[in-house]
């Protein structure tokens, strides 16, 4: 790719707040005219990245280039970038028109003159140059300063003069926009957002959707190179949001400027973007087109976050053959034999059929009518599989399931961390992984919080209480943090499983303990075990990292 095409380029950008790394070594370029979306759960650093592009935060490390020019430390008012804020941030003391005109009234443009051929020439600000020349003369005549001081000052002034002459844009004469110019620009912007009839209204009299439009008009009227949108649709109701999504997309095509959009709503991201950047914990997980991200998620996190998906632990058992759900499937991705992998199956890719006519059988445990189709939860032994199908089947019926090779997406397993996407919090504030309760530290979900005697999670300022019982969480444990207990009857053995995989890695073994429920615990040990040994598993409570599947606020007591 030609770098000149990049409108903005983030190079190794990191942001650290009070010792916490919020954005970690972020590398991204955005092409001119692209609609790019930062997608991720709250706290993943997407808004911080956006704010660094806007100039409200400065990176702790790395640099930001705008059309190849370093703008890392440029204040926001000097950047040709405008932002649509989460809660619009319209000025309540101004009406619609004045809000939109706000930026234009501050803007200064170089005065354009035409030379005799009709070509525009930029008028050099002679006053500025004259002033500097005057200063030089004064300094030369000055008798108070020592020679050395004089020389220093002269050098400085000469440099300034050279700079002015070399960079004529520094010396242009600037003027403010005329009222007519402002008026026509405002009128055009308001027309784009369909608000031309409301220009005299006070902000407080507008609906949420209208305020949203004013916020967009206020930003685009300045003709920015990049438009930043920070969850702009978050405060709107569902229907309004859908309409605005389409309108934004249209607007993007019409205006032809670059949009950088931040959201935690995967559907929004899929609908609108040219490119999606999936983020987690300040790191980029995957960059790609919506289709790529949906069809070829790079890891379990992306698969889980984008769309609905079934994720299973699987093992490659043969060339282009994978085993999961106790069944062997043919697949299209080639991985080495016996490699532990994650398999993603999208609910709409599973076809229901009659018993024994599919690859495997299951029992329908739950059915929700969703309008276009039914959403079934199907139990296969102890595993759940989410399936979407248009046909109606009765509850508790045994059905056959067809999973075609092209519906099975295989991802390399991340062997650094065990990720349990279907963990939940029990009544006594333990995290249940594979239905086994592990002690855990819930206060990590909210910095500075603590657990009170009644078992509520209480925020630092004691203002909010959360009841996390039954909350669905994603639990992560580093492979180094899983302890193997030899005595499977001891209290310490929280779960018992069989060693199904054993790899010698130079100085230690990496082994996989599989429980009866087919949950895998990948761990490392310096000791020798045999395949199919039964061992217990324990995890130190501080080593379990938790992430809520929903927003914390939903659990407020």
């Amino acid at each position: 790719m030609d770098e000149k095409n990049y409108i903005i380029d983030l190079k190794n950008v990191s942001k650290i707040f009070d010792g916490v790394t919020v954005v970690d070594n972020f590398n991204l370029y955005v092409k001119k005219g692209e609609f790019i979306t930062f997608l991720g759960p709250s706290g993943c650093g997407k808004s911080t990245t956006l704010r660094m592009i806007a100039g409200f935060e400065f990176p702790s490390k790395g640099e930001i280039l705008l059309k190849g020019k370093d703008i890392t430390n440029l204040p926001p008012n000097k950047r040709p970038i405008n932002m649509v804020f989460q809660r619009y941030a319209l000025f309540p003391h101004l009406d619609v028109y004045d809000n939109v005109a706000f930026g234009l009234r501050l803007k200064k443009i170089p005065i354009e003159l035409k030379d005799e051929n009709g070509n525009p020439i930029l008028k050099i600000n002679k006053e500025k140059v004259k002033q500097v020349k005057e200063d030089i003369r004064h300094t030369k005549r000055n008798k108070v300063l020592t020679n050395e001081e004089k020389e220093n000052k002269l050098a400085e002034l000469n440099e300034k003069l050279q700079h002015l002459l070399n960079n004529p844009e520094q010396a242009y004469k600037y003027r403010k926009l005329s009222n007519q110019e402002i008026d026509s620009k405002v009128a055009r912007a308001l027309k784009i957002v369909d608000l031309d009839s409301l220009e005299d209204r006070d902000i407080s009299t507008l609906s949420g959707g209208q305020q949203q439009r004013v916020a967009i008009a206020r930003a685009i009227v300045n003709e920015p190179e990049i438009l930043l949108l920070d969850e702009p649709l978050g405060a709107l109701d569902l229907k309004m949001r859908k309409d605005m999504q389409l309108e934004l997309k249209e607007m993007h095509e019409k205006l032809g400027i670059t949009f950088i959009y931040v959201t935690h709503d995967q559907e929004e991201a899929l609908t609108m973007s040219d490119t999606i950047v999936v983020m987690k914990d300040g790191e980029i997980q995957q960059i790609g087109t919506p289709k790529m991200i949906y069809d070829e998620p790079k890891n379990a996190f992306v698969a889980d976050f984008i769309g609905e998906s079934n994720i299973f632990n699987a093992t490659m058992i043969d060339k282009l053959k994978v085993r999961f759900l106790n069944t062997n499937f043919v697949c299209l991705d080639d991985y080495p034999l016996n490699e532990k992998v994650d398999v993603v199956v999208r609910p709409e890719d599973v076809v229901l059929t009659e018993v024994n006519k599919g690859h495997l059988n299951g029992i329908i445990k739950n059915r929700i009518f969703k309008g276009v189709n039914y959403e079934y939860t199907i139990m296969i032994n102890k595993n759940e599989l989410l399936v979407k199908d248009t046909k109606e089947y009765p509850l508790d019926k045994e059905v056959g399931l067809i999973i075609e090779p092209n519906s099975i997406h295989i991802m390399k397993k991340d062997f650094v961390t065990n990720i349990y996407t279907d963990a939940y919090i029990s009544k006594d504030n333990k995290v249940c992984i594979d239905d086994a309760p592990f002690e855990c530290n819930l206060t990590q979900l909210l910095p500075g919080s603590f657990i009170d005697e009644e078992g509520y999670l209480v925020s630092k300022d004691k203002k909010k209480k959360y009841n996390l019982t039954d909350a669905l969480v994603v639990a992560e444990v580093d492979i180094n943090d899983i302890e193997i207990i030899d005595n499977i009857d001891s209290d310490e053995a929280k779960v018992v499983g069989e060693i199904v995989d054993l790899v010698y890695k130079g100085d230690h073994y990496q082994l996989i303990v599989r429980t009866d429920n087919e949950e895998d615990f990948v761990c490392v040990t310096p000791y020798t075990y045999n395949l199919y040994d039964k061992v217990g598993i324990n995890i130190n409570k501080d080593k379990i990292r938790l992430r809520l599947k929903k927003e914390l606020s939903e659990y407020e007591a």
Binding site: A54, G55, F56, P75, P76, N77, I81, N82, M83, F85, Q86, R87, A89, L90, F91, P92, H93, D95, Y97, F102, G103, L106, K107, S178, N179, Q180, E181, I182, D183, D200, D202, R218, A219, N222
Partner: protein, 281 residues
């Protein structure tokens, strides 16, 4: 219904009692008796006398000048302080807030005494002369009202959407211009009420004035006399001076007018026709 009548009669009785002293004073401003309670027939002599009474006029002038100047100073200082503190780190904000609270809860006489002690100390050991003047009085009045300006502005700042300021920067304002064009308009109601409160506090003050005043203003070489100190000096010796009665009437009317304006402003809905500059046709 009976309850309503009962409630209203209670309110009106208390209101009546609260206004009795003032109304009596006003009533007796239309006669020329020396003592209240003695009616010498209708007369406007006192009103004529009031405008010849330089003592009262000087005090009135001083009072107004001090109230205006000290309120302007307090409002600027307090508003800037509130803005600055609001955007400071938590720790420094807590420090400013706690110090700000001291004059709010402290009794006036302790404020007055402590300031005076300091002014005497400064006069004795640093300036080597008596420094009591208009300036010490001004400092006294500012200390009295500035914490309340702070307290009036602060809630407006916290009610404001913090991204407004960022939006202004984003649209091209320098920090200073953003402050003036976006922040200040947002907190104007707080600034105005802080200013008004400063004026009332200054107009009403006796203790701090009595302690911290020196010569100056309209009083010339003599100690500055405000309405409060003048009336206090007079009523220590006898009844309220006769010429004060018509002044009471005037003050009452001004206050009434102010109250009406405040009430109207509170109920008023803005409706104005907008003119667009730059609109052609």
């Amino acid at each position: 219904m009976v309850k309503k009548i009962l409630a209203y009669s209670y309110i009106y009785i208390i209101l009546f009692l609260m206004y009795v002293p003032i109304l009596v004073l006003i009533a007796f401003s239309f006669t020329n008796s020396t003592y209240i309670g003695e009616w010498n027939g209708l007369s406007f002599d006192l009103y004529v006398n009031l405008f010849k009474d330089t003592e009262i006029l000087v005090a009135l002038g001083n009072t107004i000048i001090i109230a205006l100047i000290s309120s302007v100073v307090s409002t600027c200082l307090g508003t800037l302080g509130a803005i600055g503190a609001y955007y400071s780190k938590k720790r420094s904000r807590a420090i400013v807030e706690n110090i700000n609270q001291i004059p709010v809860v402290n009794s006036e006489i302790v404020i007055a005494l402590s300031l005076t002690v300091m002014f005497v100390f400064l006069g004795n050991y640093i300036f080597k002369e008596n420094i009591f003047s208009f300036w010490t009085l001004l400092i006294g009045h500012v200390i009295l009202s500035v914490p309340f300006v702070y307290l009036n502005v602060k809630p407006k700042l916290s009610q404001m959407d913090p991204s407004l300021y960022e939006a202004a920067l984003d649209l091209g304002c320098s920090p200073r211009i953003a402050l003036r064009k976006v922040l200040v308009p947002q907190i104007t109601p707080g600034i105005v009420s802080g200013f008004m409160l400063s004026i009332t506090l200054s107009l009403d003050d006796f203790i701090v004035t009595a302690f911290t005043r020196g010569p100056g203003l309209l009083s010339g070489e003599a100690n500055i006399e405000t309405l409060s100190t003048l009336i206090q000096a007079k009523i220590k010796k006898g009844p309220i001076p006769m010429n004060m009665r018509p002044l009471t009437t005037i003050i009452f009317l001004v206050v009434l007018l102010a109250a009406i304006i405040v009430t109207i402003v509170k109920n008023k809905n803005k409706s104005k026709v907008k003119m667009r500059r730059g609109r052609v046709g």
